[in-house]
């Protein structure tokens, strides 16, 4: 009796769409960690595990945002610039003597507005998402430069120490706050995606826009929601970077949209839309973070780093393709 129940649970897990790749890349992640740990045991030290998780957190957050947009079949190229904008706007406001928490609220509001603009451009004006977000990406980077007159900001000062601790330096129950922030965002948006109507509509649009429209899904509203999620996540990461560096840098967030895509795609989110689990994004972000962190401890020659990262990223996704194309043949036998 027990055996049968165990089997049906495993089968249940495997039938969840997209779970196959998640499990494959999880195996890949474990192998990577073991390899790095063997090359330099410091990799497994308590201090490094804490740092590593804190380094993964921002990638996970933007990965979640990008995943939302990817699931609807769109893409958000403006993530990196929104991160930079968020960092610069919050730092500039704080250096003017304003309470850091008011700066946080204002910054998030601006980021949400960018998300709304993206959503309107893509769903209402029917612009290809690549072009729409390319435009907001360039404008966003420009805003990041203008906000403080094309200068990086001064140090945000001791008054912002509380803000810096909440977003980066502080620990709660022995775990860095940044990690808690990522966990809360993951739980919240995972619930939204899996258990609410908005979430189901998000998957529906990604699978078949026309069918969803005919079934009564408000495509415009749902698309705007996904871009707002993406911009919100980018805004949070910008605040984390502001807290990390204690100042605003105009080119922060550079290329982050690509890291977000990497984390999502490695985790099984399809760029064609309609498929993807946020749990996969956790693994994808972790693989990316482990590579950046582990290669340094392994003493890999710098020229090799990029090649190693690229190869591992391709292999982890390829592995899933190989396994999946192998399955039907086995069944026939």
């Amino acid at each position: 009796m027990e055996k049968k129940e165990k089997q049906s649970f495993l089968k249940k897990v495997l039938t969840i769409r997209g779970m196959g790749q998640v499990l494959t890349v999880t195996a890949g992640l474990i192998v990577l960690c073991i390899v790095f740990g063997v090359l330099n045991p410091t990799f497994f030290s308590g201090r490094n595990v804490g740092n590593l998780l804190r380094q993964i957190a921002p990638i996970l957050i933007i990965g979640i945002g990008q995943a939302y947009v990817l699931i609807t079949g769109n893409i958000d190229l403006s993530i990196g610039s929104v991160v930079g904008m968020s960092c610069m706007i919050s730092a500039t406001i704080m250096t003017r003597g304003v309470n850091p928490w008011i700066a946080v609220i204002l910054t998030i509001i601006v980021c949400i507005c960018v998300g709304i603009v993206n959503g309107l451009l893509v769903a209402q004006c029917k612009l290809p998402p690549f072009i729409a977000t390319l435009g907001t990406m360039t404008i966003g980077r420009g805003i990041a430069q203008i906000v403080n007159n094309n200068y990086n900001t001064d140090a945000i000062g001791d008054a912002a120490q509380g803000f810096r601790d909440v977003f980066y330096y502080g620990k709660t129950f022995g775990i860095y706050n940044t990690i808690w922030i990522a966990v809360i965002i993951f739980l919240a948006f995972n619930f939204l995606l899996g258990k609410t109507r908005t979430g189901r509509h998000t998957y529906a649009i990604g699978s078949n826009v026309e069918a969803s429209k005919l079934s009564g899904v408000n495509v415009v509203e749902t698309t705007i929601k996904t871009f707002v999620v993406s911009a919100f996540c980018a805004g949070i990461v910008g605040l984390i970077i502001c807290a990390t560096s204690g100042m605003g840098t105009m080119d922060s967030g550079n290329s982050y949209e690509m890291y977000a895509v990497a984390a999502a795609v490695i985790g099984g989110v399809s760029t064609l839309g309609g498929q993807g689990l946020l749990g996969g994004v956790v693994i994808g972000a972790s693989i990316w973070g482990v590579l950046q962190n582990g290669l340094q401890f392994a003493g890999a020659p710098v020229a090799m780093r990029n090649i190693v990262i690229g190869v591992i990223v391709v292999v982890s996704v390829l592995l899933d393709v190989i396994i999946r194309t192998g399955k039907p043949r086995k069944k026939v036998n």
């Binding site: 201090r47 740092n51 001064d154 140090a155 990390t244 560096s245 204690g246 922060s252 340094q296 710098v302």
Partner: protein, 327 residues
């Protein structure tokens, strides 16, 4: 039938205009070049009678604080001299192809002189030669290339890197450390100035017992550099070097977050770096003089356009060591 005929005619017309356009392109390019040359020559004669000369500054990108300071220095000098029309052009990211485009645009825009911070020593030499052939004077600021120019205003980056290394050895000795691991946070493998700084830094450690670990690249991004420095600290480094402003901010913040105890040395002097030196997270920073590069570079450019002889061809705009005592 009528529709097909009409569309065939329109296509043929478009194709003909294309061919005509192609033919004219090379001619127009040559015309612009000679026009710029004659303009430049005419304006060189006119400088004597106080007509405005055009100087364009081309940096590696438009967001790094360093270039903003160079531009500020140049603007101040242009205002002082009065007869200069000055512009700042830069690609938004460090990219050789884009820098070459900016050079060509500057020549087409009628610049009499170009002040340039070359991305790398060889990538843009061809377009610089073309610019010189069109009569444009070249001045290097911050980073020279392998093409002869009127003058160069730059930090001697290798020497500055060596000074940074010596400062770190001094501070380590004061903390009774003569061996251990040292981490280097650089920018990338292609920016000549920061590569030279690392070379100088490693030279300072040549005869010491310290182990210099494999350099990591943080692209000059403060947050990335901080992650790298965090990892160096976990790996047991006793000293960390940041090769530019972003890297130094990251190194300082990482040391601060770890509670101190590691010697941090870096470059440049932003407000954040100064506060990190004040609270002891960083021991020293090599402060460059980008505004001097800008102002002296512009003055030399104007001199070169007027045909005056420039005596100092290689000016080391210098670094000053900023530490707790000098604040």
């Amino acid at each position: 039938m009528k529709r097909k005929l009409l569309s065939a005619i329109v296509c043929a017309a478009m194709a003909t205009t294309l061919l005509v356009g192609c033919g004219q392109k090379t001619e127009t390019k040559a015309e612009t070049a000679t026009a710029t040359a004659t303009d430049a020559k005419a304006e060189t004669k006119d400088t004597a009678s106080d007509k405005k000369v055009k100087v364009i500054l081309i940096t590696m990108d438009s967001t790094d604080q360093h270039w903003v300071s160079v531009d500020k220095g140049a603007q101040a000098a242009a205002a002082e001299l009065g007869n200069v029309e000055y512009k700042w052009m830069a690609p938004d990211k460090k990219d050789d192809a884009q820098q070459i485009e900016r050079i060509n645009n500057a020549v087409a825009d009628g610049a009499n002189a170009i002040m340039i911070a070359a991305n790398g020593p060889d990538a843009i030499t061809a377009s610089l030669e073309e610019a010189k052939a069109a009569g444009v004077k070249i001045i290097y600021v911050d980073s020279p290339a392998n093409s002869e120019a009127e003058a160069t205003f730059a930090t001697d980056n290798k020497a500055a890197g060596k000074t940074a290394g010596e400062e770190m050895i001094k501070a380590l000795a004061a903390a009774s450390k003569t061996d251990g691991k040292i981490g280097i946070v650089n920018i990338n493998a292609s920016t000549a100035s920061t590569v030279a700084r690392e070379a100088g830094f490693r030279e300072a450690f040549a005869s010491s017992k310290f182990e210099l670990l494999e350099t990591q690249y943080g692209e000059g991004d403060a947050a990335k550099s901080q992650d790298i420095a965090d990892n160096y600290i976990t790996d047991g480094c006793v000293g960390i070097f940041g090769a530019n402003e972003g890297a130094t901010v990251g190194v300082g913040n990482a040391i601060k977050g770890a509670g101190g105890g590691i010697i941090g040395v870096g470059f440049d002097k932003s407000d954040a770096i100064l506060s990190l030196i004040k609270d002891g997270s960083l021991v020293a920073a090599m402060s460059q003089n980008p505004d001097v590069m800008g102002s002296e570079g512009l003055k030399a450019a104007v001199k070169a356009i007027a045909g005056e002889k420039i005596t100092e061809k290689n000016v080391d705009t210098g670094v000053s060591v900023i530490n707790k005592d000098s604040l």
